[in-house]
Symmetry: C2
Subunit: 312 residues, 2 copies
């Protein structure tokens, strides 16, 4: 299977701490990089964690609060100084384009690539980007301002050829391609070999869902159902559930209930309030309900897949 | 003498490195804090170096390139979340107000203080702020866009009373205040004691000059003449003097010549190009001309004064 991972660049909520930068993550599939949110210092973290900033061509912005976007101008500036060409695609609220154009006013002298803004739909689930390996969807969350989650789903994989049978039958390259796509195979004597005798099942389809900032929202369960890896904000512990509701955030316990009811395989919690010097109590609170919960820490890399585990 | 220091928050040029954040510094006099420039991550560095962010009421922005301002929205956001009241004064190009207002559009819900923008004059030396201890002036530098340097000069100190004489003559509190201000003292018999017999000389007036980004500019010599501490950018070593000129920057050798011709007491060089993994060659190049040269490193604190030395 192709390597599919999520690296945490920042795991704090609005106020960064000494150890936690504001929200930003890199999703990597087969060495293509997709950035989610871009809090202040994201470019510094990319450099620290030795991720090739120049390979980022797609950026997904959940909402326009500062702790999710204030790293964007610096990142674009650094991409420009690094000689980036072509296009950089940013998927965000339509206001971002206006904000960025004012801010970049004195920077355009070096920018040799085009920033293409794609406005998000905050009312309904939408496919926002596709390539040969992946479909990326946005879906509505509920925060103080319009906010989206993102769902990364691998495309259906090809069938695996049964090498022994294929070799014995001396099937041509064109024939193999057809079989990988699901075709049966006809011998010269007219006999038809059914596809299932020529192939093994394809690799499972892997998926990753990203949800921040939001109140706990049961409406997303059908969307995130069965994902291999769910990142959900847990700004507060459950004793502050009233504050969570008032500020449109989620508690660790609520995130765990959501993970459990959605039958996800693994849960990462993050976007921790700076009041928590130690986030162990939040992780413990979540694990009571959903044992396979882990905290996001800056620099952590999580594999997306059936046996999702912490890589770093 | 009251403590007077400069702490380096960032020392890189446009692209931050693993060890160097973009330009930002804190000048501290008698525990009042003045921020100069605010590159991305300045708030993170303030926290790292245990500087009380909430005490910053005055911010001086040399010019509007991203590596000098992209930390401003995050800092303002964090000040707001920290419950700041009153006013925050920002001295900058008039365009900054427009840029910031667009960027802060979704943040105003928490901002409980007023940001007061003071437009700088990029054509001539100007007093931009005064308080009881300090005068702060801006003066023109020469970069690709309008850019200012800043000069921090202590106000004339009071004379020191000669305690033995004052006690012997039983001079009242009002009399002492007058003598500290330079007055002579008349005895009840009409005899006048000249001030110089009642006092010792005041502490020397200390000064700090900040110059970035700019070509080497001899016109500033009368302004920075004799300062105790000069920070001057040295983006490149002198073998790249053509690139320095083309990009409106200064070399380490040029900064040292300027320091020498201005008779400053100590020189800090910074704003290093990210190409220099090790800045020792730039320091050595400068020391050939001006031996009392030191590199700016993130976290360094320099005392401003006749015996300027590295504190941390």
């Amino acid at each position: 299977m192709l390597p599919f991972s999520v690296t945490i660049l920042g795991s704090s909520s609005a106020q960064p701490t000494t150890n936690r930068f504001p929200t930003s993550q890199v999703v990597s599939l087969n060495e293509k990089l997709y950035l989610i949110d871009c809090g202040e210092g994201a470019q510094i973290q990319l450099r620290r964690f030795k991720i090739k900033t120049g390979k980022i061509n797609h950026i997904f912005i959940s909402h326009l609060h500062g702790d999710h976007i204030f790293g964007l101008p610096g990142l674009i500036s650094t991409l420009a100084l690094g000689g980036k060409k072509g296009e950089l695609h940013i998927y965000a609220h339509s206001e971002l384009k206006i904000m960025m154009e004012h801010l970049m006013k004195f920077m355009n002298e070096f920018v040799d690539f085009k920033v293409v803004y794609h406005p998000l739909n905050f009312k309904k689930r939408s496919i926002i980007h596709e390539d040969s390996k992946l479909t990326i969807e946005s879906f509505p969350l509920k925060h103080r301002i319009p906010c989206c989650g993102f769902l990364f789903t691998e495309k259906q994989h090809e069938l695996h050829l049964r090498g022994d049978v294929i070799d014995e039958l001396k099937i041509s390259i064109a024939g193999r391609v057809a079989i990988k796509g699901g075709a049966d195979y006809q011998l010269t004597n007219g006999q038809v070999i059914p596809n299932k005798k020529l192939t093994f099942p394809p690799d499972p389809i892997r998926s990753y869902a990203f949800c921040t900032d939001t109140v706990c929202r049961k409406q997303i369960i059908p969307i995130i159902q069965n994902v291999d890896l769910l990142y959900h904000e847990a700004t507060f512990a459950d004793d502050l559930s009233e504050l969570a509701l008032k500020t449109y955030h989620t508690t660790a316990r609520q995130a765990a209930v959501l993970a459990s009811e959605s039958n996800v395989k693994k849960l990462i919690i993050g976007h921790f309030s700076s009041r928590y010097k130690n986030v162990d109590p939040l992780v413990e609170e979540a694990r009571v309900i959903f044992p396979n919960t882990f905290p996001a820490n800056d620099g952590d890399r999580f594999e997306v897949g059936p046996a999702t585990k912490l890589l770093l």
